[in-house]
């Protein structure tokens, strides 16, 4: 009986804890949005963050994009070749990247590279009393620290996803056209005819923006609520990657169902 009681109590505790976390992250999101107007009047702070978050993630995104493109080119060719449709390789690579792999893989890499760095930075600022110092100086840390980083992440993410897809298509072209020998004209014209700018590319950009908002918000929330100790910051960065990845995959399913259903 006591075992059952404990199990129900644990479930209840987990549920109320989750609801509390959801409420806390929603409040932080609302607070960031409410402060955005004032903070965005200093665009230098946001562009600095776009540079920090975007530029430093560029190499890992570009290299990953290239290899994903190589693999897509190879796997796509092996499969399409069975049905004699290898000329559709360009279309397959482009649609896979712009609709799904570009936004999703970029968001997962973004959570690992930029998300952890944001969480650690905010957590260490908290541990070093920097956020408290800002507050005592009558400067709102949400406005000065979180808002520029939030918009920096939200803006950098679609750009990084576009770079990923572009380099991935080049990877597919290198494998399909240069190595396997598919006709270059067919490769590009199939892609040109089959990819819709708004439905495919536009929705991909929208997806990556949503992922950017979600991952950056989670990273900032975890840093903001990290315990001000080395162990607390380490745990918070781990939570950023785990929660960020799960939220991206969950949101991807929802957005795909909404965007691409007939």
């Amino acid at each position: 009986m006591s075992g059952l009681y404990k199990a129900i109590a644990a479930l209840g505790g987990w549920l109320t804890g989750s609801i509390y976390q959801l409420g806390a992250i929603t409040r932080l999101f609302a607070s960031i949005l409410a402060q955005s107007g004032a903070a965005l009047r200093r665009p230098g702070l946001v562009s600095q963050q776009i540079h920090f978050i975007g530029n430093y993630s560029l190499v890992i995104i570009a290299v990953s994009g290239l290899f994903v493109g190589f693999v897509l080119g190879l796997q796509g060719y092996y499969t399409l070749n069975r049905y004699g449709s290898e000329e559709a390789l360009g279309l397959l690579v482009a649609l896979s990247l712009t609709r799904e792999l570009g936004p999703v893989v970029t968001a997962l890499l973004f959570a690992g590279r930029a998300g952890t760095s944001l969480t650690a930075e905010i957590g260490l600022m908290k541990a070093g009393e920097q956020l408290a110092a800002m507050e005592v100086m009558a400067v709102d840390p949400v406005r000065r620290v979180l808002v520029p980083r939030f918009w920096g992440g939200a803006i950098a993410m679609p750009i990084l996803a576009a770079v990923f897809s572009m380099v991935g298509i080049l990877g597919g072209w290198i494998v399909g056209v240069l190595l396997i020998g598919i006709d270059a004209g067919v490769f590009w014209s199939q892609m040109q005819n089959g990819v819709d700018v708004f439905k495919d590319v536009g929705n991909g950009v929208l997806k990556s923006f949503v992922f950017g908002v979600a991952v950056t918000l989670i990273a900032l929330f975890e840093g903001w609520n990290a315990r001000a100790t080395p162990e607390g910051v380490a745990r918070a960065t781990t939570r950023t990657v785990v929660s960020g990845a799960l939220v991206v995959l969950g949101l991807d399913f929802l957005l795909t169902a909404l965007m691409f259903s007939n």
Partner: protein, 276 residues
Amino acid sequence: MNAEAHLSDPLLRFDDVDLGYGDFTVLSGISLQVQRGQVVAMMGGSGSGKTTLLRAATGQILPQRGTVTAFGQDIAQASPTQLREVRQRMGVLFQQGALFTDLNVFENVAFPLREHTCVSESQVVSKVLEKLDAVGLRAAAHLRISEISGGMARRVALARAIVLEPELILYDEPFAGLDPISLGITAQLIRGLTDRLNCGSILITHDVAESFAIADQVYMVGQGKLLASGSPDQLAQSSDPYIHQFLKGQPDGPIAFHYPETPAFNQWMQKNGGRR
């Protein structure tokens, strides 16, 4: 209220204040005030609640009882805007410096100017270099925070606390980690700044010699209350055993060196008894 009366009002006032965290009270029945042009030293042993006093003065914690008034504004009753206005008139030197690690030395000192004033870039440069010069770090303006020593970091934090030339400056352990030369210069800087700006300065410190040399008024806290107050001379001549022990740094007396045993500790010891 005329301007003269306004100027004679205390900058900071604690009226029968109890301070603590949650249900735990650190200090009770504290009454003190800081006037313009006055250097006030708050002294007491480690963990006696000196930093808690500073937190109450800046509105980081609210009193459990009594009122804390800064510039005539009751901190507990202040709206967020009023609290921001009060804080803009204060400068705070934090115990750990609390420098912004993503900015270099120059930008750290320039931070309050950029956030609260609309001065031109050339004025920012001139004011920041002037303050860095006062703490002897003009030539360190370009360095990153990770490239400077602990003592230098405290001096940068001091420059940042005074860059807006506030009406009330709170220094949490301003002499900690400084070499003897920097310590003497910093003490004179605090005294000189207080006289020149006619501002109030609160030193939270253990350093008896330096703080007695520049303070007008000393408050001593311990055992959860305000133990004594007066001019440095009055305290130096006091026969109170607590004050005597603290000022002379003697091992025997009413201030215990050992942390007192608590029921939680005894319980922990019982659990870990086998490992003793």
